[in-house]
């Protein structure tokens, strides 16, 4: 497949320097060690090992034959809130992050531009599954959100011919239940369903409804009740109902719940999910500058295939390392417990798992209840993690290295306050 990804680095390099069509201005869009000669003879050299360092030096030599100064722009990344910019060794000027800083380079002169990005460690929370996917902003009196179609989080939980109230009670009492799916006519049907259905609406039923009722009658002792009261929330079609698991709630009308495993394209099926079901994973991503830092895992490589004639290999990787850590960090003030260090590396490429050129030391607590399934880490427990007393006092140092340098890693971790 590297036939396609072959374009990754080359095209990135070819986008590093751009010219503005309107006035020929030079933009250092993506700082990397690169140089070029422009059409007017200007020589631009980006002298940096960024992202291995934080400073971007740009030398611009504009030929004397050019009569006007050359506008030059540099991108100040959105994260570079402390960036400073200087021209020819002059005073540092603060520059706005998330913008292009501009200057003009005189003809017949070599201008030295220095952009010092001064990144700080950032702990960005909110990664992983969003529990608020289960809420569409319209939470009913029972604390449920209504969705058209399948539950956002996947399959449903129950089947049987229940009222919404019955299902709510069942779901609330069943730890595995985050929601249920029922069939109805449209978005407003659920509201009506919970109220008293008016007598006489049966007359609006079409033949299909009647047929469905007959089907249900074979299975359901509430058939009469349904037939009398059920209207828009009534059963139409679906898999055979299973026996009810709870008593009918007096006064409530009936709905039909289907066991749902796949996508549901039928808008008549609505899903109800607990608005409070679960919590966001809210995992933390540790960043510095453009780099994401991930928990370093010892990597054991095994050759699974050797290709001829060049003897290149296919490799699998496993790790003996502990991976189920929660970072001990206050995301709003991450600096104190996280220590950034550079490492002298002999690698000729920056993204090398065996020779990372920088690392972040952090404190972490092992979460013994966080497991793996199918050789993959389960979704992290919701953060901030509520630690037990023993856990809270148990911390150890862990090493984070650039995500791009890893084959195995934890790129987003749960966290607990230090």
């Amino acid at each position: 497949m590297l036939d396609a990804p072959a374009q990754g680095w080359p095209k990135y390099a070819a986008s590093a320097l751009l010219t503005r069509v309107s006035d020929g201005a030079l933009l250092v869009a993506l700082p990397v060690p690169i140089a070029a000669t422009l059409a007017d003879g200007t020589v631009v050299t980006v002298d940096t090992e960024y992202p291995l360092e934080d400073t971007v030096r740009v030398s611009v030599t504009v030929p004397a034959r050019r009569t006007t100064p050359l506008p030059v722009l540099l991108r100040v990344p959105s994260w570079a809130v402390n960036a400073v910019f200087s021209v020819d060794g002059g005073d540092n000027k603060t520059v706005a992050n998330g913008t292009l800083v501009s200057t003009k380079c005189l003809a017949g002169w070599t201008t030295q531009l220095t952009l010092d990005l001064r990144p700080e460690i950032r702990v960005e929370t909110g990664w992983g599954v969003k529990a608020d996917h289960l809420s569409n902003g319209h939470i009913d009196a029972n604390g449920y959100s209504r969705w058209s179609g399948a539950l956002p989080a996947g399959g449903d939980l129950h089947s049987g011919n229940y009222s919404v109230l019955e299902a709510t009670l069942w779901c609330n009492a069943t730890s595995a239940c985050v929601g249920f799916t029922m069939q109805s006519d449209g978005p407003t049907a659920m509201v009506e369903e919970q109220g008293e259905a008016a007598e006489g609406e049966d007359e609006d039923e079409d033949d299909a409804d009647a047929a469905t009722h007959e089907l249900l009658d074979e299975h359901r002792h509430q058939h009469r009740h349904l037939h009398r009261h059920g209207t828009r929330g009534k059963a139409r079609a679906g898999p055979p109902p299973s026996p009810p698991e709870g008593g009918a709630v007096p006064g409530s009308s009936l709905v039909y719940f289907k066991r749902h495993f796949g996508p549901n394209g039928d808008a008549r099926w609505a899903s109800y999910a607990k608005a409070w079901a679960g919590r966001d994973t809210n995992a933390a991503a540790v960043r510095r500058g453009p780099l994401l830092f991930a928990l370093q895992l010892e990597q054991t490589a095994t050759v699974v295939k050797t290709w001829e004639p060049f003897h290149n290999t296919d490799l699998s990787f496993t790790t003996p390392s502990v991976w189920n850590y929660a970072l001990r960090v206050d995301p709003t003030a991450p600096i104190t417990p996280l220590v950034f260090e550079r490492i002298t590396s002999q690698t000729n490429v920056p993204f090398n798992s065996s020779a990372p050129n920088m690392r972040i030391r952090a404190l972490a607590t092992r979460l013994n209840l966080w497991n793996e399934s199918l050789l993959a880490a389960d979704e992290p427990p919701p953060s901030p993690v509520q630690l037990g007393a023993a856990e809270a006092s148990s911390t150890e140092e862990v090493i984070l290295i650039p995500y791009g340098a890893t084959e195995l890693r934890m790129g987003a971790m749960p966290w607990a306050m230090p």
Partner: protein, 480 residues
């Protein structure tokens, strides 16, 4: 009199024009890499990218260069994918003059380009195999990466006869493909239709390279034709309930063309492409809308959405395919050139940088001989795994190798459904077939073994390869 004037105006109305890009890259041959970037590009040339044409049938023996292979995926696409990346790689290496380049990648590219030009249909202008692979209305896609390669080659060789040949070839092919699209439109639900914006982008790019007025008009009409046959990303991302399909808010359990990760990554450029074609700024605003939807419902910390074949949701053990990473990167590059004046445009470059420095290198081994099909943000094994937490990709998708899961990132439905019978787990790995155990007990010891090449490698047939020698002592000698 008034009627006459109107008629004259109509007759001589200036032809519709493309909106210009705000920024343009330098000519491809003018970038000179140094430092780590040159090391990275040299590494790429010296390893898998520079060797695919020497040992991997789908490139080495591609139908594009007279062979019999390269017939899987969405068409004859593997050789073209490779060429599309190798042309800029070679252009930058040629200008950068690195030391330590061990493979004659420039020669490989030159031979491919010349073969393709020499075998273009002189009558119709069609480029490459014309056997209908992909099916009616969906055999357009195969040539698109070749067109991109030819445009880059022409850019790198400006002012030379072969550059002019490349441009003539591209123009002839676009004219022929456009003639066919008039009678055989982009097939509804096909790859070519879903990726329509890349075709229009190629037309716009060709126009930017400098063409005659008649050619410019042809390119404009070709663009409009494909635009009229497009897959509607706008309604999909708007979750328009009256449209056939809506952007998903979670993991997608079944394969679809429109939830396809690589297609969505390629599609990210559509707003920029359509804005240039129509001048309608609302199209440009679609880029931020798409990114917001991707982040909200499918976002992952390495800078883009998850998708194994199709969207995978926000769970941190789901993943993204390498092909989608590079296509998202390219779409962001294109988007910035057109939409640079939008307030958010700088953030597109930030995102591009995030992908380049995180998602891209994480899924390719340091020496660039191996890559994954699928990377996970939280990745504790990279083994043949079945069943697995991802859904559509195969059991070996997270392996690091030549072609884990699928030899290209555009697998079609049937091919991704193949399931090897063997259930292999990490605790019971297959025996190393190379006879060289690569079990490294130290984190710091992995680098060297990957470089190790047995001294007995037959060098006669491949004089360009110079094995890098590293003794097995490196296992324990390397510092962390």
């Amino acid at each position: 009199m008034e009627v006459l004037v109107l008629a004259t105006l109509t007759l001589y109305a200036p032809p519709p024009t493309l909106s210009p890009t705000l920024y343009k890259p330098l000519p491809l041959g003018s970038y000179r890499a140094s430092g780590w970037l040159l090391g990275q590009l040299t590494q790429q040339a010296n390893t898998l990218s520079g060797h695919l044409n020497l040992f991997w049938a789908d490139v080495q023996d591609s139908v594009w260069v007279g062979g019999k292979s390269d017939k899987s995926g969405a068409g004859h696409e593997r050789g073209p994918y490779w060429l599309n990346g190798l042309v800029p790689l070679v252009a930058i290496l040629n200008a950068s003059k690195p030391t330590g380049l061990n493979v004659h990648v420039a020669k490989q590219v030159d031979e491919w380009i010349v073969y393709i030009l020499d075998h273009q249909n002189a009558t119709t202008g069609w480029l490459g195999p014309d056997d209908g692979l992909g099916g009616k209305g969906d055999d357009y896609w195969s040539a698109w990466n070749v067109v991109a390669a030819l445009l880059q080659y022409a850019d790198a060789k400006r002012g030379t006869p072969i550059a002019a040949r490349c441009m003539d070839s591209v123009l002839a092919h676009i004219a022929e493909a456009s003639r066919r699209m008039k009678t055989t439109p982009l097939k509804d639900g096909g790859w070519s239709q879903n990726r329509w914006q890349d075709w229009v982008y190629l037309c716009e790019w060709t126009a930017d390279m400098g063409v005659t007025e008649a050619q410019r008009r042809m390119l404009y009409e070709a663009s409009q034709l494909a635009f009229g046959q497009r897959w509607d990303w706008q309604r999909y991302y708007a979750q328009d309930s009256t449209f056939a399909h809506q952007f998903p808010e979670k993991n997608v359990p079944d394969w679809t063309m429109y939830d396809h990760g690589v297609n969505n990554a390629m599609g990210l450029k559509w707003g920029a492409v359509a804005y240039r074609l129509t001048g309608d700024p609302t199209y440009l605003a679609e880029i931020d809308k798409m990114l917001a939807m991707q982040d909200r419902y499918q976002g992952q910390p390495y800078g883009m959405f998850s998708a194994d074949e199709v969207f995978g949701g926000r769970a941190l053990n789901r993943g993204i395919e390498l092909c989608a990473v590079v296509e998202q990167m390219y779409s962001l590059e294109v988007a910035f050139r057109v939409g640079a004046e939008l307030p958010s445009a700088v953030s597109w470059l930030d995102r591009l940088e995030t992908l380049a420095f995180n998602a891209l290198p994480a899924t390719i081994s340091a020496d660039m001989w191996q890559h994954q099909y699928l990377q996970q943000a939280n990745e504790i094994t990279a083994c043949v795994t079945d069943p697995h937490v991802w859904q559509q990709d195969g059991p070996d998708s997270t392996l690091f190798g030549v072609e884990p899961n699928f030899g290209c990132c555009t697998a079609n439905f049937n091919q991704v459904r193949r399931r090897p019978q063997r259930l292999s787990h990490c605790a019971d790995p297959p025996s190393p077939s190379g006879g060289f155990p690569l079990v490294s007990p130290l984190v710091g010891s992995l680098w060297c073994p990957l470089w190790w090449v047995p001294s007995g490698v037959p060098s006669g047939g491949f004089p360009l390869v110079s094995p890098l020698v590293c003794s097995t002592q490196c296992h324990t000698d390397l510092p962390l």
